[in-house]
């Protein structure tokens, strides 16, 4: 599986309150959440993500810190983001992204070097991230086997359904 797209770049500690502010959490409808995604730090995020199609988010350390709201990865996914590359992810966000099937990749070097609007390609099987604009390549951390299985089942719910049907 691969994702390609133009990079949208953000800093360290992008928290779930800026990804989707709590004032919009009285709904869990993905398309409504997407309208407000990142708006407190980047007013044009929704239009940029929609315009470019297959946009890749690139950020520093501790991406997604803060609350456990799954609305955060849901909003990003519904905005049309195909992958997030970050130096590190906050742990609940990491779990949630995998559990809902939003591809993410940890790679401090790529997160540092890639610039806004660079064309990026991510290969999830090998973990290789290519910056098509500069020609640089980086080794990201591919998902461990257990998580690959969850992703192959299109998230945790699919994984459990498969297991439940095996047991029957």
């Amino acid at each position: 599986m691969k994702a390609t797209g133009k990079a949208l770049k953000y800093g360290n500690n992008v928290d779930t309150d800026v990804i989707i502010p709590a004032r919009y959490l009285n709904t869990s409808d993905p398309s409504e959440l997407a309208k407000h995604c990142m708006e407190d730090i980047d007013k044009d995020f929704a239009s940029k993500a929609a315009k470019n199609k297959n946009t890749v988010m690139v950020a520093g350390s501790n991406f997604g810190c803060g609350s456990s709201r799954e609305h955060a990865p849901i909003a990003i996914k519904a905005s049309g983001i195909s992958c997030i590359i970050a130096a590190t992810f906050a742990r609940i966000f990491y779990r949630n992204a995998i559990n809902i099937g939003l591809p993410i990749m940890e790679c401090p070097d790529a997160a540092r070097d890639i610039k806004e609007n660079d064309e990026v390609e991510v290969d999830f099987d090998t973990g290789v991230i290519s910056n098509l604009t500069t020609g640089n390549k980086y080794d990201g951390v591919p998902f461990p086997g257990f998580m690959q299985e969850i992703i192959a089942s299109e998230g945790l719910i699919g994984f459990i359904r498969k297991q439940a049907s095996k047991r029957l």
Binding site: N13, R23, I157, I160
Partner: protein, 420 residues
Amino acid sequence: MGMTMTQKILAGHAGKKEVKAGELIMSSLDMVLGNDITAPVAIREFARIGMDEVFDKAKIALVPDHFTPNKDIKSAEQVKILREFAREKGIINYFEVGQMGIEHALLPEKGLVVPGDAVIGADSHTCTYGALGAFSTGVGSTDMAAGMATGKAWFKVPEAIKFVLKGKPGKWIGGKDIILHIIGMIGVDGALYKSMEFVGEGVHALSMDDRFCMANMAIEAGAKNGIFIVDEKTEQYVHEHSDRDYVVYEADSDAVYSEEHVIDISKIEPTVAFPHLPENTRTVGEAGEVKIDQVVIGSCTNGRIEDLRIAAEVLKGRKVYTDVRCIIIPATQKIWKQAMNEGLFDIFIDAGAAVSTPTCGPCLGGHMGILAKGERAVATTNRNFVGRMGHPESEVYLTGPAVAAASAVAGRITTPDDLD
């Protein structure tokens, strides 16, 4: 190789003799929690799994606390999803307005978590119950759905950082000052993916309310969980609140820690976290002149009875500064009643503060005290991110209840000792 306290609890719940840091395990769960924001998503995912029943009607807790009493039609619809699901599945621990409180204050009070438990909650501050010597951690709604269906969750076994506490805290110093000091020291990702284990004789000097506050903010250092050793105070608390049997786990003497910090809590001063990260800490002495518009005393971090008593001690016979709104929110109905019976509300109301029914409310910028553009609040809550309490250009300063109450009186950030 020796195991940490957290590793031992996880091994016990995975049916293993030993687990190692980095290992992926499937753990059984003693409690699965959700609230009015996260549970509706979990309930939708639960339906997709296609199971008729939850794994255990007594081991699920649904607490509508964030936008309740329902602040608008959308919130009312969300809570309705919880209520109907709870009825349909026969879930015992559903708490309606009138019985509910902020989830992380409510669950220990209701005796729903005891030492040695493994708990997940679709709320990041689920780590609070580590104060009781339990493993508890925040997850997302999909994890919650899977937990409700199977009674299990996957975990990567964490490494741990050991915090050895010594000494006794000074007057006006509480768990909040200590944990803010620690987060200031290690940073908001200082414990990423790890456990924070609090040990040492200094722990005995801390009340359970102090420990709940500290474990609560482990997530603010990026930790998977925070956990305290179990002592007489823990056992007394558990006996007063629960009939359940419990297991006391201790770390092995040869357990391996990735870091160790010794903290003399007698040296900690009143501490404040400046916007917009909990790691931006300073002592109140170094804060300078910060004028404020609002004070919030409440939340799952500092809305417990001791917090209210401290606030009352400071506010007694004093007035809230003319330009400040002071909002006090007891975290549960039980705390509310206790505060009322102790006469704390007379003190608050005479001082010119508002007292609210239990709710998360302003803590997450939900309702009951939202900030306008450019406004500043001192809050005993746990997060001061951009826009957390309202307008993206408002500011939140995090403190304990003593500094918050004193600041309400002075109209700027200060300590009780600096009043009059």
